[in-house]
């Protein structure tokens, strides 16, 4: 039986078993954007090295870090000489570069499937993420950081999120996953924020009390890849 081994590129070359340098992801697993990339790497079975960035010490604003992420946000990413940031673009890149690895349907296997995934990835980025990120910060992080919660901001964003989830409830009554019958990047992209709202806030019912959204959340959050990410988050708190 042949075992495939990931070895450093400085090791002796073996023509029969191509080596891959692990990609590098910079940032803490507890960051929603970092965990989005981690979930994708695990789905795609791509070897990676997670490099810690201590945000409490402001490492993400250091001159060295700003060279790889000029907005001073996590994650940053490197694949040999390719440097990227923005979690959703890193996910798209991973799916294209490593199309044959792991979950090969994650970004669709034909143009129409891919377009549907992009449509729901954009819906996530433009409609779901803004209110849900605010709620994640206010409800899950502010208390830990001893920052005062803003009830007006919480109410406003809860209303916005509820409206978005009405559209999702209808969609998920017609389709098993957001973009179609298969789990995709579009569903994956929702994992980080939803996880905090369901598990670390008292507003989980926004999701769990809706029949179709609740069913969908149960399915996507029980994937092995996401369970591993949650484990990584627990290990570093």
């Amino acid at each position: 039986m042949v075992e495939s081994v990931t070895r450093r590129s400085t090791d002796r070359q073996d023509q029969q078993f191509p080596m891959a340098t692990p990609v590098k992801v910079y940032g803490p697993p507890m960051s929603t954007a970092v965990s989005r990339v981690l979930a994708c790497l695990l789905e795609k079975d791509v070897q990676f090295q997670l490099i810690p960035v201590n945000m409490f010490k402001g490492e993400h604003k250091s001159p060295d870090f700003l060279k790889i992420q000029p907005f001073g946000q996590v994650p940053a990413f490197q694949d040999e000489s390719t440097s990227l940031f923005e979690s959703r673009s890193i996910c798209r890149y991973l799916c294209e570069k490593y199309a044959e690895k792991g979950n090969t349907g994650l970004y669709g296997t034909n143009p129409l499937a891919k377009a549907s995934i992009d449509q729901w990835l954009e819906a996530e980025g433009q409609s779901f993420n803004p209110p849900s990120s605010v709620l994640v910060f206010q409800l899950a992080f502010a208390p830990r950081m001893k920052i005062k919660q803003d009830q007006a901001v919480i109410n406003e964003n809860e209303q916005k999120l509820a409206k978005v989830l009405e559209v999702y409830e209808k969609r998920l009554g017609e389709s098993r996953f957001l973009a179609g019958d298969e789990f995709s990047l579009a569903d994956l992209s929702h994992l980080p924020n939803t996880h905090y709202l369901v598990n670390a806030s008292d507003r989980g019912e926004l999701f769990t009390f809706k029949k179709n959204v609740g069913r969908w959340w149960g399915e996507i959050s029980s994937r092995d890849s996401w369970k591993k990410v949650v484990e990584m988050q627990k290990q570093t708190t």
């Binding site: 000029p70 673009s89 798209r92 377009a115 992009d118 409609s127």
Partner: protein, 217 residues
């Protein structure tokens, strides 16, 4: 079959129009009057359940979210018109990187400015001057990062005009024209040169000619 694009008077659909022109793809437009609330009509919501523009209809195929539409047509017609994606996975990666920057960092503050400055009176609510000031400050910080980027790279995604640059056209046009904030672009040497370059493209000039904004300057 000609692709239909809904809502051409508005900024977001104009991303799609300029892309289709760059890709030499024929299209038709269907007006949607947001001020009359046509985007909330049951018929429209069947096409676009979030009630926003644009949506495209290509025969039976319906697609929404402007940047998803951009990606679909840029790939479908990769071999004709302008290459808006790059030739390798790595080049595409950088294009996607800066398209996400536009979506996540540039768009929110400039969209808030658009709604507050250009649409508030039409939609019947008072301008929030604090929000306008905050949004301008946020946008200025993003433009500072663009200035640095564009001092090292001719276009945002690399040395070629791509979806990453194209996506900025409609709302930046509002910024320099109707919002009267051209100084934000002109005070930054490389951003200014980049803006002149991308906004003078025949495709963009054609969009401006054919589809007027829903208000006068």
């Amino acid at each position: 079959m000609v692709v239909k694009v809904y809502g051409p008077a508005y900024a977001t659909p104009k991303r799609v129009l300029v892309c289709l022109i760059e890709k030499e793809v024929e299209f038709e437009t269907v007006p949607v009057d947001l001020l009359k609330g046509e985007h909330k009509d049951p018929e429209y919501l069947k096409l676009q359940p979030f009630g926003t523009v644009p949506v495209t209809q290509d025969g039976d195929y319906i697609l929404y979210e402007s940047r998803a539409i951009l990606r679909y047509y840029a790939e479908k017609y990769k071999s004709q018109g302008t290459d808006l994606l790059g030739k390798t996975v790595e080049e595409r990666g950088l294009v996607e990187n800066w398209l996400e920057v536009e979506a996540q960092s540039y768009h929110p503050p400039i969209y808030t400015l658009t709604v507050q400055i250009l649409f508030s009176s039409k939609l019947g609510f008072p301008r929030d001057e604090n929000l306008i000031k905050e949004s301008e400050e946020k946008l200025a910080k993003v433009l500072d990062i663009y200035e640095e980027r564009l001092s090292k790279s001719k276009y945002l995604g690399g040395d070629f005009f791509s979806l990453a640059d194209l996506s900025h056209l409609p709302f930046t046009q509002y910024l320099v024209d109707q919002m009267g904030k051209e100084y934000m672009i002109r005070s930054r040497k490389h951003v200014s040169a980049w803006w002149d370059d991308i906004s003078s493209r025949p495709s963009w000039q054609k969009v401006l000619q054919l589809y007027a904004a829903p208000f006068k300057n």
